[in-house]
């Protein structure tokens, strides 16, 4: 009996130490080279559906072209799940080698010492020339730079676009998408109508969801700012902001419908809505689901030519082994090369991150397939990015829930709603 107990003891000790040994071995989440000279690394992302398929296809192609690197593309399904997995992985000292991240997460990762600076790789032997860096969409590299160091790289970035139903437009004598706010309202009004004469409106001019992103674009188009220049206080409650929200409320509640989540896109595909705003990525979800003649257009303009891009960047984790980091950079460099970013953009609707990509055959071909896409991407020339701090990440929720939602649901006047949201955001920024 005693003998057996001893044996069990030994087994436990062995088990525990071996578990510890496994968890301490190597650096980062990726498996170490197994002696065959192949660097295996883990890439965590949140791409699903058509986007996930496109990414997996490109990763497979990269692996095929690189006999010494094997990227394991792991989808976490959605951004919230991705952030939780990264959080847990960092806490357990088992981060992946490469991951998609939002700017606010990047800031936290930098402060934790978990994000590897890419500046050395960019300036290194397998780096990028100044000419190549200048080829990136203006603002995208800046968006990835903190205190002069580039910590992330643009990966999947999108801009807003106006999707319009050409048939529905033609029925009311319109041949073009609206180009300014006045036309936007006027066209939406014309498109809102009772098509079968039963006394009920069955086609709405436009539709949308409760979205801070839509408001932010209207705000900067109207000459407003999200935060003050030093980023310490809300600035969206300015007269420009109130005017922008009043416009949004009029557009979406008088001549449109506010739906829960992405339902408005289904209604648009069913031909019940004249035009809708959406991300360029929505294209990949809509493709093949509508039967009418559809075209894209840049957002109708107002005082300023301005726009915010959305989407994530990628970071390399500092805890990974050097060969893994080098291989991860090789993938990032390959993925953002003009040829590949053009193909990624053509497959998904994300914006190409390189200007020269626009002129490549694959992109030109896509532009002839999708009417108006080329002009939508011209917005990239003046597109900028939202405040990047973790405090704004939390504050943005107040803008959406307290500001935009309260106004769109007619619980508060736009001015009151923005003032209330600004108070909440200021409290968040002051912490």
């Amino acid at each position: 009996m005693k003998h057996r107990l001893k044996k069990h003891w030994l087994l436990w000790v062995l088990l525990t130490t071996s578990v510890l040994a496994i968890s301490l071995a190597g650096c980062g989440g990726g498996k170490e080279g197994t002696g065959d000279g192949v660097v295996r690394l883990e890439f965590w992302h949140a791409m699903g559906g058509p986007l996930g398929d496109a990414l997996d296809a490109l990763v497979a192609e990269f692996n095929g072209n690189h006999s010494d690197i094997e990227i394991q593309s792991i989808s976490m399904g959605r951004y919230q799940a991705l952030s939780q997995k990264i959080m847990a992985a960092v806490a357990a000292d088992q981060p992946p080698d490469l991951a998609q991240v939002y700017e606010a997460w990047t800031e936290n990762l930098i402060e934790n010492g978990s994000a590897e600076s890419m500046t050395a790789y960019i300036n290194g032997p397998n780096g990028l020339s100044q000419e190549e860096l200048d080829d990136f969409i203006p603002g995208m590299i800046e968006n990835s730079t903190w205190d002069g160091e580039i910590y992330s790289f643009p990966f999947n970035k999108s801009v807003r676009a106006l999707y319009w139903n050409k048939g529905a437009f033609a029925e009311v004598g319109l041949t073009q998408a609206p180009t300014n706010w006045d036309e936007y309202l006027e066209y939406a009004k014309k498109l809102t109508r009772d098509t079968d004469g039963d006394g009920e409106i069955d086609q709405w001019g436009t539709a949308g969801q409760i979205s801070a992103w839509m408001f932010e674009n209207l705000l900067v188009q109207n000459g407003g700012e999200i935060l003050t220049d030093d980023g310490t206080r809300a600035a969206f409650d300015s007269p420009e902001g109130v005017e922008a929200l009043e416009f949004m409320v009029e557009l979406l509640t008088e001549y449109g419908k506010v739906t829960s989540g992405y339902e408005y896109q289904n209604d648009f595909q069913a031909g019940k809505i004249g035009m809708v705003e959406g991300s360029t990525v929505s294209l990949s979800f809509m493709e093949g689901k509508y039967t009418f003649d559809m075209a894209l257009a840049p957002l109708p303009e107002n005082k300023e030519k301005a726009s915010f891009f959305a989407g994530t960047n990628v970071v390399i984790f500092a805890d990974s082994c050097d060969p893994n980091k080098r291989a991860a950079w090789e993938f990032v460099k390959w993925f953002t090369s003009p040829e590949i970013t053009a193909r990624w953009a053509a497959m998904t609707g994300y914006a190409p991150v390189r200007r020269s990509a626009m002129n490549l055959p694959v992109m030109q071909e896509r532009f002839t397939e999708v009417e108006g896409l080329e002009s939508v991407f011209t917005q990239l020339e003046y597109a900028s990015y939202e405040p990047r701090s973790a405090a704004w990440y939390a504050g943005r929720k107040y803008l959406e829930e307290t500001g935009v939602e309260a106004a769109l649901r007619k619980q508060m006047k736009p001015g009151e709603a923005l003032a209330a949201a600004a108070r909440a955001v200021n409290a968040e920024l002051a912490r």
Binding site: Y102, W105, E111, N112, S114, S260, E401, R409, Q411
Partner: protein, 324 residues
């Protein structure tokens, strides 16, 4: 000495053996309950961002917490939820249990029907009810319209129900602070009651069957009617069960998360944050990437203190009326 006696004396009475039997459950409780509770308590004094402990901040998280209006509004929402779920669930499950305790036909079928929601996945239940409540395509609005009523937007309605009733009665004005829980929250409450009732019925049924028949017979012989029998015999003798059901339903209601996470929004907790309960607030603050696990731990601790003190108060107030 038979072998059975030997076993009883040597093995079962041996404290070491007893301890050994407790080890598996003990490990689970310690690893998944005790350690997390202690860690949460410790973490609430630290700044934790994106998986890394940044530094000791003392009571700063608690100070921040008590300055956040969203914390108080989510606490208020939770109180509405508990106040909506607990009494109705208790009343309906007791009523159903008393009815199911009779000798009626197809008793097994009824019991199964009531218990079915309990064994159904909460995720599936939430998704199905979300569709039932859908403003345009939902079954509920369809029924309302067939019956000549007005369609409502249910989960997308931020207005409080008292305010809605007041405006329905034609009153132009209603005090803003007294608008009550939003219709969206009421929709979630309905689902919670529907889903939880079966479990409570089973507990009540067990309690009812524990009441010895002699008492009923004695009461009948003394000429008591069925209402008298219920209030003088069933209700007092059932009180330990009722007390248990009250306590457990209150505690689980305070911890509601899944239905809120799956049924409301986007954004979750909407419309206008009127369904943002305390556990979802905690989740948002801790698990969103901009969040802080230290802050979330402080929220969790406050929730723990609230539930604990409420349980103690319930014991004080209610237990004196319980007949064991």
């Amino acid at each position: 000495m038979t072998w059975l006696e030997n076993l009883r004396r040597k093995k079962f009475m041996d404290p070491l053996t007893a301890a050994l039997y407790l080890v598996p459950a003990g490990i689970v409780v310690i690893v998944f309950r005790m350690i997390p509770i202690v860690s949460a308590f410790i973490l609430s004094f630290f700044d934790v961002k994106m998986g890394r402990i940044r530094g000791f901040v003392g009571l700063a998280q608690y100070v921040r917490l008590f300055q956040d209006p969203t914390f108080f509004s989510s606490l208020g929402t939770t109180v509405y939820y508990v106040a909506g779920v607990v009494p109705v669930s208790l009343f309906l499950s007791l009523l159903a249990a008393v009815l199911l305790n009779q000798k009626i036909r197809a008793l097994g079928l009824y019991r199964t029907v009531f218990f079915l929601p309990v064994v159904t996945s909460l995720v599936a239940v939430s998704m199905v009810w979300k569709w039932i409540f859908h403003p345009r395509l939902g079954l509920l609005n369809y029924i309302f319209e067939v019956l000549g009523g007005n369609a409502m937007v249910w989960l997308e309605e931020p207005r409080g129900i008292f305010e809605m009733v007041a405006s329905g009665l034609g009153w132009g004005w209603w005090p803003a602070g007294l608008s009550g829980p939003s219709l969206a929250l009421i929709a979630v409450i309905i689902v919670a009651i529907w889903r939880g009732i079966g479990y409570n019925i089973v507990i009540f049924l067990a309690g009812l069957q524990n009441i010895p028949n002699q008492y009923y017979e004695a009461a009948r012989i003394d000429g008591a009617n069925s209402r008298g029998v219920f209030w003088k015999v069933t209700w007092p003798l059932l009180s330990p069960t009722t007390f248990y059901v009250l306590l457990s339903t209150t505690i689980t209601s305070f911890q509601v998360f899944t239905q809120i996470y799956l049924m409301t929004g986007p954004p979750v907790g909407g419309p206008m944050g009127t369904t943002k309960v305390i556990v979802y607030y905690l989740f948002e603050k801790g698990f969103d990437a901009g969040g802080n696990m230290g802050y979330a731990s402080a929220v969790a601790l406050i929730l723990f203190v609230i539930i604990l003190s409420l349980t103690l108060v319930q014991r004080r107030l209610v237990e004196s009326r319980v007949y064991y």
